[in-house]
């Protein structure tokens, strides 16, 4: 039993808002996490697990100002400002993993939020209405990758009566003139938060510069890691890589981020991961996985293994963005935000995906269509056609990441099975 399962078993029937706000609870959780029995075999995983646990504990115990942020908001800014970043979209995934999402979905439903909306955000709303999330002091998001964060966060900022920021990002960056307004918005956010965090603006800018320096260092290791992952046969299972998305979003700007990626490089070089994602024959059915995956307990992973298929790469768990200038942190962070392939047209995303497919020499690709996601599902067919142009078959797999009641395991398996037959 892994750490997550252990904690779920222990607490799932006792979970309550007051429990999550108790130091005793968090002391116990961290003690369990650091018990040698539960310690992950990989040092990188140990670093990331500790970081996430500490961050969540500090948010619930409100040890510093808490800032809620969405996936593409640069964490360097939050760490530089000495705030606690909290990423509700991860919290929704954790709720699904721990079997708590259903009640939160029902709460959101009862509050009038349509079931057509993204279940990540319905869970966030339901959990917030039930006081299962740490109260924010500020809420911030970027206008990309999707509408759900700006829209649900707007409701939540009203609910908590806290300031709400949305950083608008242009879809097309032709020059610094397009980046300046993004940089300006980040600076305005900094100005608003630095008072609350007890730092003057100048001091805050200095610390953000330091966070940017750490981010650059982590980036160096992350790029090395990505290069190693392209090894043939594969050195790591892409499912594990998808789990690293939270690290990529929440840690940049911290020493933990540097340590995580340095350890990943070390682990990969020393063969500490099971090669090829546990397939008997690592050269069979190397898959590129696109968008996300179900976070509740499901049999897809096992099914892939049984069919000797390995997810060898996926699109989100990669470091996007150039090296940044610590002396000009806002413009640099603006550039990082705009550089993400989900920030522009689908053409940019498709170029990244094709490069991944080529570098990893995949046999096929799966685009997982999370039911309420317009931004990703809306271009799945284009992605499929574009991959076909370089000779790679794609399965568009309709499913759900969070709402288990919408999960059709048998159908998914049948479609995957049929897809594998076409790869023969």
């Amino acid at each position: 039993m892994g750490l997550a399962e252990h904690l779920v078993e222990k607490y799932k029937n006792k979970a309550s808002p007051s429990l999550l706000r108790s130091s005793k609870f968090w002391n116990t959780v961290i003690k369990i996490a650091n018990n040698p029995i539960n310690k992950p075999s990989s040092e990188a995983d140990h670093v990331s697990a500790n970081f996430m646990l500490n961050m969540t504990r500090d948010a619930f115990l409100r040890r510093k100002p808490v800032v809620w942020a969405n996936l593409l908001f640069p964490s360097e800014l939050l760490h530089g400002l000495d705030t606690i970043g909290f990423f509700p979209e991860f919290a929704a995934a954790v709720a699904a993993m721990t079997g708590l999402s259903e009640r939160f979905l029902q709460t959101a439903d009862a509050a009038g939020f349509s079931q057509d909306l993204c279940s990540f955000h319905r869970v966030i709303i339901g959990a917030a209405l039930e006081s299962f999330l740490p109260e924010p002091d500020y809420i911030v998001c970027s206008s990309t990758p999707c509408d759900s964060a700006p829209l649900s966060f707007m409701f939540l900022a009203d609910h908590y009566n806290v300031p709400n920021f949305c950083i608008d990002i242009p879809s097309r960056i032709d020059s610094n003139e397009d980046l300046e307004p993004v940089s300006q918005q980040l600076e305005e956010f900094t100005l608003a938060v630095s008072g609350a965090a007890g730092a003057g603006k100048q001091e805050a800018v200095k610390k953000i510069g330091e966070a940017v320096t750490l981010s650059n260092e982590a980036r160096g290791y992350a790029l090395q890691m990505e290069s190693l992952i392209e090894n043939h046969p594969p050195l790591i299972n892409g499912w594990d890589a998808i789990g690293n998305l939270s690290v990529l979003i929440a840690t940049p700007g911290t020493q933990s981020s540097v340590e995580y990626f340095r350890n990943m490089v070390d682990d990969l070089k020393n063969g500490r991961f099971e090669p090829g994602g546990n397939t008997k024959d690592p050269n069979r059915y190397k898959l590129l996985w696109m968008h996300l995956r179900p976070y509740f307990r499901n049999g897809i992973d096992e099914f892939l293994k049984d069919n000797q298929a390995a997810v060898v790469c996926e699109e989100y768990s990669r470091w996007y963005g150039p090296e940044m200038d610590p002396g000009d942190p806002f413009l640099s962070l603006a550039e990082k935000m705009a550089a993400h392939p989900l920030a522009g047209s689908s053409r940019r995303r498709m170029e990244v995906i094709k490069e991944l497919a080529r570098n990893h020499e995949v046999d096929g690709a799966v685009h997982f269509n999370h039911r309420g996601c317009r931004q990703s599902c809306g271009c799945a067919q284009q992605v499929k056609d574009e991959l076909a142009s370089i000779g790679i078959k794609t399965l568009i797999l309709d499913g759900e990441c969070i709402d288990e009641s919408e999960h059709r395991e048998g159908q998914l398996m049948t479609r995957l099975e049929a897809f594998f037959e076409t790869l023969e």
Binding site: A111, G112, F113, S114, D116, L117, C118, S143, C146, D147, S148, P150, L151, S152, M154, F155, D158, N164, C166, D168, P170, S171, R172, D174, E177, D178, E180, P181, V182, Q184, Q185, E188, S345, S346, R347, N369, R371, G372, R374, Q375, C377, G378, C379, A380, Q381, Q382, D385
Partner: protein, 352 residues
């Protein structure tokens, strides 16, 4: 369908979102024509974009795939579905000109700069496309013409006595004709009192949503004894940009100054549910209900419209507080399921 409504020889340019600066298209010598999609569904468009995307967007893609859209189309990055439509259109349709403007959610200086930069790029690209320079003079002229169009539309406010169907029709005409043609048809002819169907006395109903494909739903409410007193749609009440701006406020400077003026005017218009200024949006909506004396609201958002669906619980809560009942009908943007919708409207009207 599009060609029929073009009554002069200028080239047409399609547009979809009310945040599209029509004046720049007109200043480039193009007739802005709003796309309303095709009749019936389109399996091909549904397959290309997926079933859980806005049905208006899918219908418009079908229009593009069928070669029924203008050669130039200006998109607005106002929501995920629209952004993906731009992508799909650029990928699958055979248009000579496509461009997507960035529509910020905020209205601070940085957000205004994003919109201004974007419409400046649009102007540059349209100049290249049409070969016609966009000058300060022709942009000013285009703004004046749009102001006149909106003055005509504004005269349909409740006092004009126009019924809901005719009012909606008039707004759609204004979005599919060039300004001069529309003005010559209706301008200085305040209007229609004599020759148009009048409002009947019934329960006052506001229809709130995105945009309607036709007047069928409005007609149904009217047939059920209601009076459609306000249309909170981006094709009607939220279509206005210039209603509160007079001719003498147009700056006399050069093109840059005019682009700044356009930016300010478009971003300050009555907001759509996607924007960050929810309070203004709610105030405008509630103000509309009060000024029109609404007894009930029919919400008819397009299916999968996230901006509207996230806003809806708050809208309903506010209208409940005012004691104004609401009926939610989700629109698949096709005129099907008529019988079912009629039954629900009848029941709602009886309840009122």
């Amino acid at each position: 369908m599009m060609k029929d409504v073009n009554r002069n020889n200028s080239m047409q340019a399609g547009w979809l979102c009310a945040y599209t600066p029509l004046e720049i298209m007109a200043a480039a010598g193009l007739t802005p024509v709003r796309l309303f999609g095709v009749e019936g569904g389109s399996e091909i468009a549904d397959n290309l974009m997926g079933q859980n995307i806005c049905p208006y967007v899918r219908s418009c893609l079908a229009q593009g795939l069928g070669g029924e859209a203008p050669d130039a189309v200006v998109f607005a990055g106002c929501c995920d579905s629209m952004r993906r439509l731009y992508d799909a259109w650029s990928y699958y349709c055979d248009s000579r000109f496509t461009f997507m403007i960035d529509v910020p959610r905020g209205k601070g200086p940085a957000s205004l700069a994003i919109y201004r930069n974007s419409i400046r790029k649009l102007a540059d690209k349209l100049e290249n496309y049409t070969g016609e320079a966009i000058t300060a003079e022709n942009l000013k002229d285009a703004i004046r013409q749009r102001m006149k169009v909106e003055a005509v539309l504004d005269s349909t406010s409740p006092g004009a006595g126009l019924n809901g169907s005719r009012k909606h029709q008039l707004f759609i005409e204004a979005q599919q004709q060039d300004s001069r043609t529309f003005i010559s048809g209706y301008g200085d002819n305040p209007f229609l009192n004599k020759r148009n169907p009048k409002q009947r006395n019934g329960k006052n109903i506001t229809i709130s949503g995105n945009l309607l494909k036709s007047e069928i739903l409005i007609g149904m409410v009217e047939e059920c004894g209601g009076t459609v007193c306000a249309l909170d749609l981006c094709s009607v009440e939220r279509f206005f940009t210039w209603r509160d701006i007079s001719h003498d406020m147009i700056p006399g400077g050069g093109l840059d100054e005019l682009l700044g003026f356009l930016t300010q005017s478009y971003i300050s218009r009555s907001p759509c549910p996607r924007t960050l200024y929810r309070k203004t949006r709610l105030d405008n909506f509630l103000g509309l209900l009060r000024s029109s004396g609404s007894n009930g609201v029919i919400y008819i958002p397009l299916m999968f419209c996230d901006p509207f669906l996230y806003e809806l619980p708050e809208l309903k809560r506010k209208t409940d507080e005012l004691g104004i009942p609401g009926l939610l009908l989700q629109s698949n943007y096709q005129n099907d399921s008529i019988g079912q919708i009629r039954t629900r409207i009848e029941a709602f009207m009886e309840m009122l």
